[in-house]
Amino acid sequence: MEINIKKFVELGKTVRKDIINMLFCAGSGHPGGSLSCVELMVALYFKYLKHHSENPEWSERDMVVFSKGHVCPTLYSCLARSGYFPTDELDTLRQSCSRLQGHPSSVSELPGVEVATGSLGQGLSIASGMAIGFKLDKKDSKAYALLGDGELQSGQIWEAVMTAAQFKLNNLCAIVDNNKIQIDGFTEDIKSVEPLASKFKSFGWHVLEVDGHKYSEIFAAYDEFLAANLDKPTVIIAETIKGKGVSFMENKAGWHGKAPNSEEKELALQEIEEKDLGV
């Protein structure tokens, strides 16, 4: 394994273990979608994002909107491991008076969280508004929005898709964690959002398709977004597996919103430690 990749594989393990521990402590939460976007977010937070954990309000920073806010364990882990707040605080997820709310909140003043999310379908519009703001100020900052495939059923997503194309927001990058499962089952069986790539293309977006559990492909996609001199927004459609890394959680709708018990937690942690994901 390349040394470059190895660092991210280890970070991915750390984040996955954080997710499992957090959800176990909380006794509720969303493991499936948190685990499916680990590589995508580890690559973003630890390689591409322009940010300073010691100065969260840095005016030149990039901004990230976790539109699929229920996967905030991944966000919180990435922020803590970036130094935004002590990692001990991760154990307070979903508890009374915690800054780690069940869905991201800017009211609880957790550094690194730009805006409250969790009501699905709204985050792309918010990131699009940020991208417009950056352009007005002639800043080089980028806006990223993490979307789930299920939330693409929301009409507002496509309103924002059109707005971003209309305003040629080449500083906006949507990341679709296409794990193909929503609360009630497979997205395909409930209301199919496919074919995603051709949908986004026909709406005037630059489309990149990657294996969302392979760093080499993820890096190539972010590199292309940052290097491409286009007059359109970019979407990275990432093929992912819900619950990735914990075999008994993988591809199971039942693990969308359920915390592991003590035994399941130990099994999960052991499996995460043993497997090198992202290669």
């Binding site: 901004m63 909107v65 909140s105 800017s106 009211v107 730009e114 805006v115 409250a116 999310t117 969790g118 009501s119 379908g121 709204q122 985050g123 519009s125 918010i126 990131a127 699009s128 508004g129 940020m130 991208a131 417009i132 703001g133 950056f134 007005l136 100020d137 806006a143 009409g155 507002q156 309103e159 924002a160 059109m162 707005t163 209309q166 305003f167």
Partner: protein
Amino acid sequence: MEKKATRFGYGEAIVELGKKNKNIVVLSADVTESTASHLFAKEFPERFFNVGISEQDLICEAAGLSLTGKIPFISAYSIFATGRAWEQIRNTVGYSHLNVKIVGTHAGLLVGPDGATHQALEDIALMRVIPNMKVVVPCDYIEAKKATELLAKDIGPAFLRLGRANMPIITNESCDFELGKAKIMKEGADATIFACGVMVSEALKAAEILAHEHISIEVVNIHTVKPIDRQAIVKFAMKTGAVVTAEEHQVSGGFGSAVLEVLTTSEDLTRFVPVEMVGMQDCFGESGLPYGLLAQYGLTDVEVVKAVKKVLQRKR
């Protein structure tokens, strides 16, 4: 009496604000000219964004802009801005206390011929229940201008409720206007009318009619429905001992309800004060001439007079 729609007060003020502050941006949803934001669009095309007929996106685009330090004013029909996008306003703008100004024009029956689907009669209720949200309902064109100026300086979410039709201009440039402060329009002793929006001028007309019958009416303009001026409401209710509320909105949940909430929970209200409410009585509007509809649905001076007489009978 000179008449002008409140939407033009906003439209003119926002251009002047745009000249002074480059962070002011305006967003529209395909109703640019009718919301009077075309003046800003013409002057500052680079700071004007028309997102088309998509109010949910509109609210959240503005949210994103505010997060980069901009001061977005959203210009849209009130029914769609506050109704269709309510949950976006609640969860994204209100909860995160974002500096987004929602300017809802075409509020109330005064929309006229477009009919019930376009007449927002629930928007005060919808907006005032959202924590952090300020709600301002100017009584005329001049107040709309002043409200726009003050809201641009104020930090946090706000809803500015404006009308389509021309309304009498009943204040002047030198009148005081402070967010959250009630304003006495006419002093009186027998009953107090608390009103907002177009009903302030209807209340003043009612007071004139009643003066001929030697009934002395106090008219108080509550342009800021939230945060409401509790002190003034209690003081003026105690002074006359009889209250009428008047609004171009459903009587339940809106402005009148806000006044009642103050009166029923105030420790300083030490006597029984009967209240009558003028407003839409749990029904939808329809097509018609703006002021014809006000008369048809009981939102004119005549109905206010009736309500005053009724409340005076109940006064002990």
